[in-house]
């Protein structure tokens, strides 16, 4: 079971028991195998975390004595800071390691670096890497929880969790909502993880973008279907009709190798979210963006900062979601070391329950 958390500075007791049990998942690498119930248990845990964050001193000792290492091989502001604040709010020690300025620059391999961090006493590894699959390679070798903070063009599970959580916040329920994800789907780890999470929760998801920025299978007509249960539309003006959620993705300027697009102007004209286009969506529609935004390209400034935008809520919710994820994986690791499940080898220092 997941124990109650915090008999903290205030002396009050706040249970963080999830309404539905977490299955004891030791790593969070993607949402592709998350059930509806499991996602709900993350959200319920995040609800409790949000209560903690609303306190005058938003800090509990659940992860006191644990070291969370943020291993970031790619630049990041919001994700890294979000994980750092989340871990600190749970009382963990946080160490940030970036590729530049570390032994990575001296040619150390990925696995040697993580083994070193493990030997130094890391209890949780939060990994951002430019290569798809890198956190999986690490997780296979590690006896401590690994959380994927974005790998290449593959997955970004905590972003997808906070996206779904934000939608749930706004609409109460995700089942049956129409969600439109617009842009460079081919290179988007956010779109991939969102597709898994949101469809598991019953949303109707559409990928929209120019054909050259869509996954290869989105264009195939030989029966090889896309991995995700989503629909595809090349025409934004058509796709945006009556949707409940509009999520433009960042045009990844650094990834536009070759000539996939004639110009950013072409993109903005046909796929930018403007006020006029947004008016075609449902009147209650919200606008989301995983950030960082290129205002004037995939989203106009007045939309990005307008009344329908929940971009700031996404960022804020990210801390609660990451607290929930960190809490749950550490709790699972502690459970595992008590012999309940065995995806993780018991780690020294993780014996016994999470402190309550």
């Amino acid at each position: 079971m997941i124990g109650a958390v915090d008999r903290g500075d205030t002396g009050r007791s706040h249970s963080v028991e999830a309404a539905v049990p977490w299955v004891g998942r030791g790593h969070v690498l993607d949402l592709d195998d998350f059930s509806h119930q499991e996602l709900e248990s993350v959200f319920n845990t995040a609800d409790r975390m949000r209560e903690i964050l609303a306190r005058p001193v938003p800090r509990v000792p659940s992860l006191r004595g644990r070291s969370v290492v943020n291993l970031f091989y790619e630049p990041s502001t919001r994700t890294r800071v979000s994980f750092e604040l989340a871990a600190k709010s749970l009382g963990a020690d946080v160490v940030n390691v970036s590729a530049s300025g570390s032994s990575v620059e001296k040619g150390e391999t990925l696995l040697d670096t993580v083994r070193t961090l493990r030997a130094l006493g890391a209890n949780v590894l939060v990994v951002r890497h430019k290569e798809s699959g890198a956190p999986y390679t690490i997780a296979k070798q590690m006896d401590i929880p690994v959380v994927n903070a974005g790998d290449g063009t593959h997955a970004h599970p905590t972003q997808a969790l906070l996206d779904a959580y934000t939608i749930r916040d706004h609409f109460g329920c995700i089942e049956g909502l129409r969600v439109l994800i617009v842009g460079d789907i081919a290179h988007s780890r956010v779109a991939r993880s969102d597709a898994w999470g949101l469809t598991a929760l019953g949303a109707d998801v559409v990928f929209c973008g120019p054909p050259n920025l869509l996954p290869a299978t989105a264009l195939k007509d030989d029966g090889e279907c896309m991995p995700w249960p989503v629909r595809v539309d090349f025409d934004l003006d058509h796709a945006i009709e009556n949707v409940d959620v509009v999520m433009p993705l960042r045009v990844q300027l650094e990834r536009q190798e070759g000539n996939r697009l004639a110009s950013l102007r072409e993109y903005a004209r046909d796929f930018g979210i403007t006020r006029a286009r947004l008016a075609r969506a449902a009147s209650r529609a919200i606008v989301m963006h995983p950030g960082p935004m290129n205002e004037g390209v995939e989203i106009d400034a007045d939309v990005a900062h307008g009344g329908q935008s929940v971009v700031q809520q996404q960022v804020t919710n990210g801390v609660a979601i990451r607290m929930a994820v960190l809490y749950l994986v550490v709790a699972a690791a502690a459970q595992n070391s008590n012999g309940h499940k065995t995806p993780l080898v018991p780690a020294p220092g993780l014996s016994g329950k999470v402190p309550v």
């Binding site: 798809s132 699959g133 290449g152 290869a216 279907c225 896309m226 991995p227």
Partner: protein, 237 residues
């Protein structure tokens, strides 16, 4: 005269249309014949192959021994060890070493190292173009005379169609195959696996079949246009 009996193995030899558990007799390094498991006889050595397959040595037409230049990955000796451990008695090694196998001397180097290893029969390929740079033809005739079994710029395609044309027609002098690494690098575009559902799923850059097929199609046309001896290392599906 030395004789060996290999007992109880499953003999698989398509050339003799054999697929059965039978004993095999070898005399002075050559197969002498098959005898029933009950048959008596005295042999210098008996090998029990129960539960094993007995077959002619396998031939690998395309392997990499990495020597010279990349001995941290493989050497001619370690590659030959791996080969015989897996049942391969003849292996053909690609010339994309450092330096590449461009001359008769380079071919002789591979043979010498293989002889020192004393395991599998190692048959080297030479490059089609010097340094595999695609700029000028290597001296294939000289290398063929030294024992090169074929020519390839493996690891890189012969992207220049004119170079491919002349490499093919030049094979009329040495009668060895030209083995092209068929991959249009622009279409392949850095892909790391087949393009499709799984590459989309994993977020890995896919390489479409067309990257290979375009160059196979070109080479077929070149082979139709001029006489030559050629081979496509990864046959079209």
């Amino acid at each position: 005269m030395t004789s060996i009996r290999i007992r109880n193995g499953r003999v698989i030899d398509p050339s003799q249309r054999r697929y059965e558990v039978v004993d095999l007799v070898i005399v002075d390094g050559h197969v002498d014949g098959y005898i029933g498991q009950e048959a008596q006889g005295s042999f210098d050595r008996e090998i029990d192959a129960a539960g094993m397959v007995v077959s002619p040595g396998f031939v690998d037409l395309h392997c990499h021994l990495r020597e010279p230049g990349f001995e941290d990955k493989e050497t001619i000796a370690t590659g030959a060890m791996a080969a015989v451990a897996g049942g391969f008695t003849t292996i053909c090694c690609m010339p994309n070493t450092n330096p590449t196998i461009d001359t008769a001397n380079d071919i002789a180097f591979v043979f010498a190292a293989a002889r020192r290893a004393g395991l599998a029969r190692v048959l080297p390929l030479g490059t089609v173009t010097r340094g595999e740079l695609g700029r000028e033809l290597s001296d294939a005739t000289e290398m063929a005379a030294a024992g090169a079994v074929a020519f390839s710029d493996d690891g890189r395609p012969i992207w220049d169609g004119r170079m491919m044309r002349y490499a093919l027609t030049n094979s009329l002098r040495h009668h060895k195959p030209i083995v092209n690494h068929c991959e249009d690098p622009v279409i392949a575009d850095g892909g790391v696996m087949n393009e499709g559902r799984i590459s989309d799923l994993l977020g890995l850059k896919g390489q479409p079949p067309a990257a290979e097929e375009v160059m196979v199609a070109r080479d077929i046309e070149l082979c139709c246009a001029w006489p030559s001896a050629t081979d496509l290392p990864y046959p079209p599906r």
